[in-house]
């Protein structure tokens, strides 16, 4: 299951692709377009989208926030100032529903006499989300979740029967390690989601007021919030299970068994979460 969880994000490639634009790439239009229209292969989030429309002198022509088309959820509308004749560079960067940034650039010209084609400079903008901080945060998150679940199972399946047979041994060390791992997982998961979202949206990670609303609008953010909820439930159920657990007694109480079952289910949900939050499960982006 762990292998599947780790392999799935790399296996699927469901990144957003730009299918159609208005004005069309390299095309000449003879009336100033009121907006640039970008049609993607999926419903990318306008609040994550960064679109720049500049003339040869690099003057920004975008006049307002990028919004979603009322008629097509896959379409973004970028309002423009009234652009005079000339050449324009459209540079766009959007976040796929799976959480990956995608970018591109194209030119169009406003005629009938746009003048000579300029040599536009296309900006270099990180297309990968794999910054060192993000990688560390991701691995801390994944490893701590796995360690917490692993230690819980270790305590349940190996340490507990051992303690009841070998005198003088205690479960305390395993329990402490479990709680540390779970504590790290509970903190690391939202931190990772915030870091990743700040990276995607090109906003400071401290602009939490901007980032939190964005968390709920991407499948990526929602997936990790689900993991956090599963982890919290796991922590509650595990706390109940450990509190009710009496290793010295030969038979477990019904309450302890129920708590244990709940803890194991929450643990499974937390493990499946990372696989479902990434590239996979793209059926319902909104």
């Amino acid at each position: 299951m762990v292998l599947t969880a780790l392999a799935a994000p790399g296996a699927a490639w469901a990144h957003a692709a730009l299918l159609k634009t208005f004005p069309a790439a390299s095309a000449e239009v003879n009336t100033p377009p009121p907006h640039v229209r970008l049609t993607y292969s999926e419903a990318v989030e306008p609040r994550f989208a960064i679109v720049s429309v500049t003339n040869a002198a690099a003057d920004q022509q975008v006049d307002g926030a990028v919004r979603r088309s009322a008629t097509n959820p896959d379409e973004l509308l970028v309002p423009l100032k009234r652009v005079p004749e000339g050449w324009y560079l459209v540079f766009w960067r959007v976040i796929s529903v799976d959480g990956h940034p995608v970018r591109g650039a194209f030119t169009f010209k406003v005629g009938p006499n746009p003048g000579p084609p300029p040599r536009f400079v296309i900006p270099s903008l990180s297309e990968t989300a794999a910054t060192p901080n993000l990688l560390v945060a991701r691995w801390v998150t994944f490893l701590s979740i796995m360690a917490a679940v692993g230690l819980f199972v270790l305590r349940l399946a190996i340490a507990r029967p051992l303690v009841s047979r070998v005198s003088g041994t205690r479960l305390r060390a395993v329990s402490i390690a479990f709680w540390i791992a779970l504590g790290v997982a509970l903190v690391a998961t939202p931190v990772y989601v915030l870091l990743a979202t700040s990276e995607f949206a090109l906003r400071s990670v401290w602009a939490i007021g901007d980032l939190v609303p964005l968390l709920r609008v991407s499948a990526f953010g929602r997936g990790f919030l689900d993991i956090e909820i599963a982890l919290a439930l796991f922590a509650l159920a595990a706390a109940a299970a450990l509190w009710l657990d009496r290793p010295e007694r030969p038979v477990r109480s019904v309450a302890a068994l129920l708590a244990l079952l709940g803890a194991l289910m929450a643990a499974a949900a937390a493990l499946i979460g990372p696989a479902a939050a990434g590239h996979a499960a793209q059926t319902s982006p909104r």
Binding site: E28, N30, T31, I50, S52, T54, A56, A57, A58, Q60, W87, L89, F91, R93, G111, P112, N113, G115, P116, P117, P118, R119, F120, V121, P123, L125, T131, N133, L134, V136, A137, V140, I176, W179, I180, G183, V184, V187, A188, V191, L194, L195, S198, A201, L202, R203, S204, V205, W206, A207
Partner: protein, 283 residues
């Protein structure tokens, strides 16, 4: 002891978040560098000029890399060198020159503006190594001192007579934006005989179009049979005209936008360049 470990473990990711904060870009914007383009430098006259006397007009076209453009195309057909086309804002006057290019890329001309008012200067350049775009146009303006009285655009007339040459277009042209059309002209000399055209700058006739108001510019050529490099290109479509018999000109028209356009049909007959203006409605 164990409590301290737990606290330390809980704080570790927060420290990580602090590191991440340093790499935040601060805002959801990006910076675009200015692009480089062909542009004019040292355009003269830089101040209002006097009507009725020769005025020096000069400029240098600078390439995107900042060096002056010195290599212009030479060869068969009209798409060569530099064309300087000047129109008064009301399109009542047109000047079409082909000034020489200096070794340093400076282009010098002498122009006589007949009437006061604002003029638009179109510099149509054909660089030798143009890349995907064979030519480009740069635009400037010249003010001629004195009161500007705009002359109304004359209505369409099927016959225009210039310098004794009679230009007659067959039928009333029905033109639509972005749709190619052909205008049939019959040109007769002062003696009533069919005019004999001699190639002028690579074409039997130059059809220069300006849209009234916006002064949008477009041009096509009437090519001799078998002439190379004569067709004009608009949006991937080749537009050209032909003339196979004396006195007859087929002018290809493909205008990008609707409106009232002025066609300046320029031909060389008996060694003399004659310009016949027509008004065209494009729906």
């Amino acid at each position: 002891m164990s409590v301290r470990i737990v606290v330390a473990a809980l704080l570790a990711p927060l420290a990580l978040a602090a590191c991440g904060g340093g790499s935040g870009s601060g805002g959801p914007s990006i910076t675009i560098q200015p692009g480089q383009s062909y542009h004019l430098e040292g355009f003269m006259p830089g101040a209002p000029v006097t009507a009725g006397k020769p005025t020096p007009l000069s400029f240098t076209i600078v390439q995107p890399d900042g060096k002056p453009l010195t290599a212009y195309r030479h060869g068969a057909g009209p798409h060569n060198g530099v064309h300087v086309i000047i129109v008064r804002r009301d399109l009542s006057e047109i000047i079409h020159h082909h000034p020489p290019v200096g070794a340093d890329g400076k282009i010098s001309d002498s122009v006589t503006f007949s009437k006061p008012g604002p003029y638009r200067v179109v510099i149509d350049a054909y660089p030798q190594n143009a890349g995907p775009v064979p030519s480009f146009q740069l635009f400037e303006k010249v003010d001629v001192k004195g009161a500007y009285h705009a002359e109304p655009t004359p209505p369409f007339k099927p016959v225009e007579t210039e310098d004794g040459y009679r230009f007659a277009v067959a039928g009333k042209p029905r033109l639509h934006a972005a749709q190619a059309g052909i205008l049939d002209f019959t040109v007769t000399g002062p003696d009533g005989k069919a005019a004999i055209f001699t190639p002028w700058f690579g074409a039997l006739a130059h059809a220069i179009f300006f849209r009234t108001g916006s002064l949008d510019y477009f041009h096509t050529h009437v090519c001799a049979p078998g002439a190379t490099g004569c067709a004009s290109v608009l949006g991937g479509a080749k537009v050209t005209g032909t003339s196979t018999t004396p006195g007859r000109l087929k002018v290809g028209v493909l205008l990008p936008v609707a409106g009232t356009w002025r066609l300046f049909l320029q031909t060389r007959v008996n060694g003399k360049v004659v310009t016949a203006p027509f008004t065209l409605r494009v729906a």
